[in-house]
């Protein structure tokens, strides 16, 4: 319990440092620091209000404390272009990014774990000689390029899938859930999710394969064999469960990392998510949105790193507390 608390404190520390770096970075940008919050087209009254809210007339160190306090409450200011609070914009696109990331990573890890263990059991066969290089090649391909090829082939070429977006224009839904479970949404989701899954499956597959090869050398597998247990029981009950541990931590870290790395795939498929919002806001110098999106992506990443760290010690008691990977 104590170690969980200290890890949690560590996570908050990392998050705080990341927020500080972000604050300093946004003071690096060209022009007046107030440009981070105030667009010249805002009315005088609006400008006054924002100056007060973010302490932009205060010295830098005070601005910093106000920034941290605001960020902790999810207060990132007002978008220059959308004229809405940044937090509203972020919450609008967050479901899209979460659905895209989670669906692709879950598919990728289920596929990777199954194929990886199957390969370990079929060591040295022709299947291995074909699958392993294919997996390496898919991992080496830039995600956005994979997306472009799929989009040109199945989107534009064959016309099986829409060319971008998350919903057809003009569609209206009663609630966020009915939107996400509409067939129209799933139809739009398929290609970007497939692109990400193709990229992501390599890591769990290769990890699972090498872990299985390791575990199969262990005494308890030998013991199970000597007991005369059927092969599939050995694979599923004894070997796979143990080989799965590192894959679980990779899964947690993977979620955090792909939320940030999704930027490119979201751009290719014009998917209205967090990454695309970040790119668009940086390109349009919409600094409050850029800041907010960056911090939200970083928060998810740090949180998932923390969960991976916990999983690692909970699932594998051999790992002594404080020892690091």
């Amino acid at each position: 319990m104590k170690s969980v608390l200290s890890r949690f404190a560590q996570m908050l520390f990392v998050l705080w440092v990341v927020a500080t770096i972000l604050f300093l970075m946004f003071r690096l940008m060209p022009g007046d620091p107030t440009a981070a919050y105030i667009d010249t087209t805002f009315t005088e009254e609006q400008q006054q209000q924002l100056r007060a809210a973010f302490g932009l007339d205060q010295p830098l160190w005070k601005q910093y404390f106000i920034f941290i306090a605001n960020a902790a409450q999810g207060e990132f200011g007002e978008s220059f272009h959308h004229r809405k609070p940044v937090i509203d914009l972020l919450m609008e696109v967050l479901p899209n990014t979460l659905v895209l990331t989670l669906s692709s990573i879950i598919v990728a890890y289920i596929f990777g774990v199954l194929v990886g263990s199957w390969l370990a059991w079929n060591r040295g066969t022709r299947a291995e000689a074909i699958v392993v290089p294919t997996v390496l090649t898919l991992r080496a391909a830039p995600e956005f390029w994979l997306g472009m090829v799929l989009l040109a082939t199945f989107g534009f070429g064959l016309g099986w899938f829409p060319s971008g977006g998350a919903n057809s224009a003009g569609a209206a839904y009663g609630s966020e859930w009915s939107r996400i479970f509409s067939s129209d949404f799933l139809h739009h989701l398929f290609l970007p999710a497939l692109t990400l899954a193709l990229y992501l499956q390599g890591l769990p597959l290769l990890l699972m394969r090498s872990n299985m090869l390791d575990v199969m050398q262990e005494d308890f597998v030998m013991m199970a064999r000597m007991k005369g247990l059927p092969e599939w029981v050995i694979v599923l009950k004894h070997a796979a469960r143990n080989a799965l541990l590192p894959v679980m931590t990779a899964f947690a870290i993977g979620i955090g990392q792909s939320i940030g790395a999704n930027v490119v795939v979201e751009t290719v498929f014009s998917w209205p998510g967090l990454g695309r919002l970040l790119v668009a806001s940086v390109a349009a110098s919409d600094y409050p949105v850029a800041q907010g999106a960056f911090l939200l992506i970083a928060a998810v990443l740090v949180l998932m790193n923390f969960i991976a760290d916990l999983l690692y010690s909970v699932l594998d008691p051999r790992v002594s507390h404080g020892a690091r990977r």
């Binding site: 560590q10 520390f13 990392v14 998050l15 440092v17 990341v18 770096i21 970075m25 946004f26 690096l28 940008m29 060209p30 390496l136 090649t137 991992r139 080496a140 391909a141 830039p142 995600e143 956005f144 390029w145 994979l146 472009m148 090829v149 989009l151 040109a152 989107g155 534009f156 070429g157 060319s163 090498s210 090869l213 990392q257 939320i259 940030g260 790395a261 930027v263 490119v264 751009t267 290719v268 990454g275 970040l278 790119v279 940086v282 390109a283 850029a290 999106a293 960056f294 992506i297 970083a298 990443l301 740090v302 790193n305 690091r324 990977r325």
Partner: protein, 307 residues
């Protein structure tokens, strides 16, 4: 990296005259000789290196020159032909020439970033593992922070604030990607520093820094090369992603630039596969070459994997 190899080649040749050029390079890079994957990876690198060096000779046209047919028509979206091996872009630019010139940008980013990442990661890993205590603690917390910053978003913001250039991308990679190398090297140092020869050096009165760099460092060099070879691919992928998103240097023709150009010019809906497939294939080849070379180091470092 290949330059380093060539520089040390002469003395190797004197020691064992019958080893070929490739064998000498492999030995300088501490790769197991005759390893199929490592050899293939090095050959792919060599082909791209030669292409990059001779780019101005190989490319039939200027990559940004707008081409016209004999009767004065703009050669937009020309299909592949003998004169234009991969066809032309929507603005009448030769795709093959862009691809050849793009090799240069890829290798410059890839190799410099890999050297920087491997050097920083190794140095921090060595110091952290060898000295331990608060130094170790501080450096590893720093690694946690670097791993808590989303990589692509950070590079995008940095590029847009301090200016889009190859060096911004190299800097972003150097700042954020060293922890993986550092952590692995650190744990290796923890075991190496307990070995007898280190103890012997300590007893004979060597200074800690001398022990670190003369006795410990050479033992972890293959790990440095392993992470360096993976970093080349990472750097090239990053450069391509950043350029694709429009935050890359606008005056450099790179593979990512070509893909952005193709995407922005509706090459996808037009089905101009001859435009956007080749740059992607080149990226895949370079990155795969890195994986193959790293596999060579893995077999050297973890021979258990072989059987």
């Amino acid at each position: 990296m290949a330059h380093v190899a060539e520089a040390s080649a002469p003395e190797d040749a004197a020691a064992e005259p019958r080893v070929g050029a490739l064998g000498r390079i492999m030995r300088a890079l501490r790769l197991p000789r005759g390893d199929f994957f490592a050899t293939t990876g090095l050959i792919i690198y060599a082909v791209f290196l030669i292409t990059a060096l001779l780019a101005d000779v190989i490319r039939p046209h200027d990559p940004l020159e707008i081409l016209f047919s004999d009767d004065g028509q703009l050669l937009a979206n020309a299909p592949p032909s003998l004169t234009y091996p991969l066809g032309t872009t929507n603005l009448g630019r030769d795709i093959f020439s862009q691809l050849v010139v793009g090799t240069r940008a890829a290798l410059i980013v890839g190799v410099t970033a890999a050297i920087v990442v491997a050097a920083i990661g190794t140095l921090i890993g060595l110091i952290s593992g060898f000295f331990g205590g608060w130094i170790d603690n501080g450096l590893m917390r720093l690694a946690d922070v670097a791993l808590g910053i989303p990589f692509l978003p950070f590079t995008i913001v940095l590029s847009s604030f301090i200016g889009a250039s190859t060096w911004t991308i190299v800097m972003a990679i150097a700042l954020l990607l060293w922890p993986n190398t550092a952590r692995v090297i650190r744990s290796q140092v923890l075991s190496v520093r307990e070995r007898a020869f280190v103890e012997a050096a300590r007893v004979s009165g060597s200074s800690p820094w001398r022990i670190l760099f003369v006795h410990v460092a050479p033992n972890i060099l293959p790990l440095t090369f392993l992470y360096g070879s993976i970093a080349i691919g990472w750097a090239i992928l990053t450069e391509a992603s950043i350029s694709f998103l429009g935050f890359g240097p606008s005056d450099v023709v790179s593979w990512g630039y070509m893909l952005q150009d193709a995407y922005g010019s509706q090459a996808l809906s037009r089905g101009s596969f001859n435009w956007f497939v080749p740059p992607g294939v080149c990226i895949v080849l370079v990155v795969v070459a890195g994986f193959f070379v790293s596999r060579g180091y893995e077999e050297l470092l973890f021979p258990k994997l072989k059987d």
